[in-house]
């Protein structure tokens, strides 16, 4: 049905909105692009362009990111933490999501609010409280975890968990109970219907949450800093924080930040490709795949 012209666009011509939107997009992205380009600066300045070079990437034999052990170490440690966080938080969160979505009765309401708590607590609160237990509480599970990699992983898993639960539960709600009930009607045990029906249907959401956990971990600063022990547990964000204002810091810092961002974006791109391919079977459009992947559906 064709609407009369007056009604087809009931909001008037949005010229003003177009301008605002594109100015916003430029404002949001240009500074980042400029900062990344400065990693190719042929000078020590991170604010004045002095010509193109690759010295801060690999040219300089001692100060470039792939030659300076401080940089390479921060990079490796960040990736290690992200991998550990992903491997622990994803299965834990998927199980919790399944449990919370289906478990009715005493305790389930409390468990639900408990799961949401990390999402509404400022990170510094979580960081201070974890620091107190790991440095002051001399009883068993806490004495086993020491500041450094162990505490960093525990801290990161704690705040990543809720994101996994939210994403997986959103997907669970979308799937509905019908497929599982059909499987049960056909004689599958609860575990069989979970393994053969629900988990395959949840795969895109599990993949999306793994990716979000990876990005959360690699970008985290507050909890990771509070849980660190010494220079050996410095991550890229901690390194950026410590050196961003230093007058002697070279554009190698920008190169390090660029590596961080490219790692994340390549990860997102890869997961998006897989997700879109998986989604085609269940007739998901690219836009909705992208939105689900970026946690938009959960918001």
């Amino acid at each position: 049905m064709k609407l009369p012209r007056r009604l087809r666009n009931p909001w008037g011509r949005p010229r003003f909105l177009v301008i605002v939107t594109w100015i916003y997009v430029a404002w949001a992205l240009l500074p980042v692009v400029i900062a990344m380009l400065f990693s190719f600066n042929n000078g020590r300045s991170r604010s004045v362009w002095q010509g193109f070079s690759t010295r801060w990437w690999w040219g300089d034999p001692s100060l470039s990111i792939f030659h300076d052990p401080d940089y390479t170490h921060a990079l490796v440690h960040s990736l290690q933490l992200a991998a550990l966080d992903m491997l622990i938080a994803t299965p834990l969160g998927v199980l919790l999501a399944l449990g919370l979505a289906r478990w009715r009765g005493r305790g389930s309401g409390v468990a639900n609010s408990l799961m949401l708590l990390p999402l509404v607590t400022p990170e510094i609160v979580m960081a201070v409280s974890l620091l107190v237990v790991f440095t002051q509480l001399a009883i068993v599970p806490f004495t086993l975890v020491h500041l450094g990699t162990g505490a960093q992983v525990v801290g990161q898993v704690t705040f990543s968990l809720s994101y996994v639960v939210v994403i997986v539960r959103a997907r669970l709600a979308l799937i509905g109970p019908e497929y599982e009930e059909a499987a049960r009607d056909l004689g599958a045990t609860p575990t069989e219907s979970l393994r053969l029906v629900l988990i395959p249907l949840l795969t895109p959401a599990i993949l999306a949450s793994m990716l979000i956990v990876f990005a959360l971990s690699i970008d985290d600063f507050v909890v990771t800093q509070y849980m660190s022990s010494d220079a050996s547990t410095t991550t890229i964000p901690m390194f950026l924080y410590a050196n961003a204002r230093g007058g002697t810091t070279t554009p190698a810092l920008n190169a390090l930040a660029t590596v961080l961002v490219l790692t994340t974006l390549i990860g997102v791109g890869a997961a998006f490709a897989i997700y879109a391919a998986l989604g085609r079977r269940t007739s998901t459009t690219k836009v909705s795949a992208f939105r689900e992947l970026s946690g938009l559906e959960a918001a």
């Binding site: 605002v20 939107t21 199980l95 509404v120 609160v125 950026l240 204002r245």
Partner: protein, 296 residues
Amino acid sequence: MTTRTSYWRTFALPGVGWLLLFVVVPAYAVIAMAMGRVNILLQPIPAWNPATWNPGYVWKAFSGALPGGEYWPAVRNTILYVGASLALCFAIGYPVAYYVARHAKKTKALLIVLLVIPFWVSYLLRMLAWIGLLSSDGYVNKLLMDLGITHPPDWLNGNPYSVIVALVYGYIPYFILPVFAGLDRIDASQIEAARDLGATPWQAFRRVTLPLSRPFILAGAALVVLPMFGDYYTNDLISASPRTNMLGNQINLFVQGGSEKNLGASLVLVLMAILAVGMAYYLYQTARDTRALRTA
């Protein structure tokens, strides 16, 4: 049915156990630390047993947070900066979300990608980018000099405006995305109905679109306000001056800097108290919205 529910409960147990150990116990530990003492060596000692609680530090923190108190400047800065940043997030973010959700046709997919990218770009890199641009020989001042301003301001040493802009820059994606998701879900026929009944475009927006997007504005506001209240690194990076200290900076100073951990923990309780007021307002409003939707 009882066997089913206990079956599903076992799935939740490891996660719930994790949360009890690393969220609930630590939350109590902060209270114990705030209510604690220092020993002879001036090391902070938490008071685990409520019978031995010492309210001295908590009292000092809460009374210091009131106007005229020792921590009032930090509390005032926090409220001012977060308030200003939230207003800017709305002023910039709502039109952007609105345009992408309702008007962008061919460019919609591209714009969604562009709106999401900042999410995946490290917060610290985004601050680093502004440090480069705002430094005394950076592009911002160069532009101002080209425009004839011979003495451009010092952006990076205790300038509250830079801190506010940096906070907006850092957190606005978290405002835009839920608002976009909400606006995108509004059924266009509702707005067309309003127009059919004679509403002007502005009236239709004011009476239909805006009220329908209110829950999402509130959600976006909560998403940006909560982390901003605990933020200390934006300030450290962009200002690095005690003049613009926020509550987060004060907490960080006490907890990571010296042995004043009892006081730091007490200030965490102050922060949570301020947030509790905000959350109560948020829950009250969302409950009202839900009721309004049900009765409508």
